[in-house]
Amino acid sequence: MSRLLRALLLGLAACATANEAAAQEESGPIEFFEKKIRPLLATNCYNCHSAFNNSMGGLRVDDRHGLLTGGNRGPAIVPGQPEKSRLIAAVRHPEQGLKMPPNKKLTDAEIADLEKWIADGAPWPEVKLPESIGSRAAEYEQLKKTHWSWQPLSAVAIPAVQQVDWPRSDIDKFVLQKLEAANLQPVTDAKPLALIRRVTFDLTGLPPSPEEIDEFVEDEAPNALEKLVDRLLASKSFGERWGRHWLDVARFGESTGSARNLPYPHAWRYRDWVIDAVNNDKPYHQFLREQIAGDLLPANSPREKANQLIATGFLAIGVKDVNQRFKVRYIMDNVDEQIDVVTRGILGLSASCARCHDHKFDPIPTHDYYALAGIFRSTDLCAGLRNKMGGGGLDYYDSELLIPLSDSAVDTDADADAKIAKLQEELKVAVAEFQALRNSPEGDVKTADGRPKRMVARLKTEKIRADINALNDPAARGPVAMGVRDAVAVADTEIRVRGEAEKLGPVVPRGFLSVLTLPDQSAVNKKQSGRLELADWLTHPQNPLTSRVIVNRIWQHLLGRGIVGSVDNFGVTGDVPTHPELLDYLAARFIREGWSIKKLVREIVLSRTYALSSAETPAHRTADPGNRLLWRHTPRRLDAEEIRDAILATGGTLDRARPTGSPIQKYPVIELRNNGPQARSIANQAQSSRHRSVYLPLLRTLTPRALDVFDPAEQGFVSGSRDTTTVAPQALYLLNDPFILEQAHKLADRVLQRQDLDEHHRVVWAYRLALGRTPATPEVSRALTYLNETVGAQRQLLAAAEPGASAKPAATVAANSTDETAQGTTANAPTGNGTTGATPAPPPATPTGGAATAAPRPAPARPAPTVPVNPDDPVPEDDAPVEKSHQPTDPRVAAWVSFCQALLGSAEFRYLR
């Protein structure tokens, strides 16, 4: 036995003594189990209740944990108490109630054996830990001492530099020192025009308006940049951009994803909480504490408590596989997901690798993983969901697993209670009817409307369940949140051998990662889950990872690359910091300044390093092509959200108000199939929204199209950095998407409305609106020539189209009659291959002006249908989304729309220098 394992077992002594002693004494009972009970279960029960065959009712009896957890009806056995064990009740074949096995009663002797086994405590042979567990102890000890990231923050001195005039702040000294050491000069400073565009996008995700640009460029005060930065930090747009950065880390999504994609109707509350917290500059340690343990923190008001509860949504909004047969696996998978988001998101460590084996690279033993798992195992995950294999309709919805946000929601309606009681009775009858039809040929008999009786019976049970849920549902009675709360039973949990949820090894006391053992860290409160102490440990001022990781994330968002390139991985396989001293300086300063994100952002953007131009020389590129040493400001493409928001802002149509909630919130918790009417409706609502992109509905796997082509955050897991691809589908989007055509039209209208300007100055105004700069003379000439020639070409086309009487609006086509938003929108005319090649089709013509370009507003008056779908129906193929045509008929307007679209499509529009 390895040293670590021995130590581990000694450490466990307090909890495990009883078990171990029992295990030794029980060679008799174990033998009894192997001789009598296991064969009995295998012969009579495995066909319907085991891992490899089936798990009817969610129950499996081929492992002890399965019996203890039980199925849909609750635990199957209560060790020591045969009379309280459902298994015993069922095998006795009572007059009323469940009879198991259904077609054959066990003999009295067999039943007696089962009773005896349960009375003896239901002993089961213990699963041995593989020898590999704990075998890396020595290697781990070495790694703990040597790897940079988990060493304490070092006290760094501000470095001395040769060019003393260059630095504007301490940050600059750290950067310049490295540059001087490499014999590289920083390039020139950015021009004010580039700087205001850069800093406005970086801080708010929006372009500066022409007026804001003028004000800054003309402001010769030495503190002009400070004034600008302070204004941006104070704007609510700051939280909308920087909150989105955190949502990337928090793998925010508004549905389960995975095999059955169910909506999260309340996830938006967490999204709004994040944005508000960032805008209020909630200190980062407090920000984290509320997300990990908001339910356990003191609150000064019901409102504060409600916000703290919403914050715990962080632990609830991840991907879930509700179509999981075994409850224990569902639970342990969710625990794993929580461990991953906490450790990777906050600490930059991939602790979830230690679920099945000791971490292969970092000193994270499986023991530590299950110490954390115990904390989350003692926590109820309130996502409003439960697992079920092959469920449909509202099967997955569990309204008890939601967090009511106000006491008013609790006042029970006596009338409702009576209705519920009545429905419960009806449900019993309906379930019995369905059970009777379930496996009998009678179930296949068709009813009058052609549906099998079995299906009709099942739908009836679903309907009654839905009605009961609706009456019981706290979400129907008042505001609720997704989040977590301490479980009724809190306990340490067992190591799961090789990560298999049912294979229980020794119990591990709840705790944290031993790689970060901090002075005076709080021990887990045995009466609670331990999340409060976990939050203490994560935000302990001497926890070196929490501050380094967030500071590095912030640096990345402003300088293009983290000081540690692998922002989510500070482990052995991650990158090493390019400027380790700077990282520690920033981390220490961050803590000293009260964990203020705004202060840190301010400090960085006021540095000279940040304000460098993006110019380059061959010498620089050869010496350091990746700009690791920060000799310039790396240009960047705007993020998906910024591109869409900038297009709306340029078109003058951006709605800066926060929408109430999310389009998702009105959907019942029923599977959203990729191309079902509900998913299509949500996609259409996203397409027609004019709110900032952070507020678009974010169903997993159904990313709004405006974001999808420009590399949005992967919603499945922590993603601290985004990709930047450059591919033809982006050009196709900018050339053809109805949203772009509409916004180009809006921009054209905006420019053409300027009656006070001549055509030349309208071009200038369009450039200023779209690109934030005045065009050079050749650019204006080029634009005017383009406009003239395009007017001519448009006129010819329209003339050619005239005799064909195609000046009518394109026909109204509903893509699908069940679509909730189809009404009143027109379809984009091109069909089939859409080619225009040698025989150009006339453009689909619609009247120009307000009517043609008014955004289609969804008006879903009626609630989404609650009729259950059969989950095994094939998923329908893609239907073309409902689109509008935005082709103007006036040649001059058409030419301007085309020109404005070119501005929106130019690389300059979406790249920052």
Binding site: R498, P625, P778, Y911
Partner: protein, 463 residues
Amino acid sequence: MTLVTSTNESPVSRRQVLKSAGAGFGYLALAGLLGQQSARAQQAGAVNQPSPVQPKPPHFPAKAKRIIFLFMEGAMSQMDTFEYKARLQAEDGKPGPGGGTLVASKFQFAQHGQTGSWVSELYPNVARHVDKFCFLRGLHTDTPAHPQAVIQLHTGTALAQLTRPSMGAWLLYGLGTENQDLPGYITINPPANFGGTVNYGSAFLPAYYQGTKIGDRGQLPNLAASQPAQLQRRQIDLIQAMNRDLAAKPGAPEQLEGVIQSYELAFRMQSKVPDLLDISKEPQAVQEAYGVKPGPAGSFARQCLMARRLTEAGVRFVEVCQNGWDHHNNLHNGLIANAKATDQPIAALLNDLDQRGLLDETLVLFGSEFGRMPTAQGADGRDHNITGYPMILAGAGVKPGFSYGATDEYGLHAVEGRMHTNDLHATLLALLGLDHEQLTYRYGGRDFRLTDVAGRVVQEIFS
């Protein structure tokens, strides 16, 4: 051997080229439109350079023109599919040579074809094609974790410090692509994790060598042109003129060349791609042969049929993906489900390529980022194995009915004909006519290769 790919062009000179390169045929229209007003445009008029993804001659005669990669993400268990080990089957439950408990495959194996190659009952349809196969049985790789191994399989290295270009990007860089109206590199249904876009990215190669991602129902939105072609061409020319202006400015973004190419390709794709991705255009019999159906169960069949259509149209590198092979548990049922999803489509693809004469020009690569252990993991699982696992080649350039390399009697370690991922890449490039040591790109003062500083061409498998 002629050196056709530039090994020493610096990024600065690339940009200088770009300023004058124009964008293929679009330039002429632009020049006319602007009446030669812009000095820069005049300069551009002097050099009407071809697209950077024009076909380029290989270093030496190519044996294959294109690759289809059937990627089994998550590591397919070779012990239960294509690696029959009599000793493993006989020693079920005994201790394994490297520890653990050996577990025989629960699936029946049989010998197939003239070559008598062993295939398990999981692949009855694929088994009919064994005589076309060139098995590589001695592969090994560096990291027993999916993210690193998937990235290494696709880019040659899993070093976190510097992301490398994917193999499809290297192929495009080396060879260009036959059909200028289509992306030269298409990946269908790629995994979002394990590196995500890194696996079809171009890293420091110019962005126009990136793979284009398509959904498993052929989703590629916005292919329908929003206006008549002449008008759109005019508009694109204006956009490109603006883009070239930006390229001339200091500190222009590196991806600008990629942006310019993306517009040219997008313009051409509009007329070709919608038909190409519409597999409903295939005769019913063909769709049935692949097993095309809606929903997740038909995903791989649809991907394979799209892959054939794209290959036929001249796409240089097509990758399709079946995920979910990571059977640490649920091995038995998981294998049955995944084999069911892939067996018929792969067999149909091979048949279809063969009948159309495409298999003479197309190399099919079938396999995972690594293999699985001959020993048990839990009651119904197998852990990762990086020390010996197979991949299968078929088609252009490789010996049919051939097997290269071997693992030990249990299938644990590669003992003969060992091939590292770098060797696989060197060999694939050689089959496409590229010398992996010459296919270099200078970045940050050094030449980079797909094979880094290693790689052996395994000529033994060449037909």
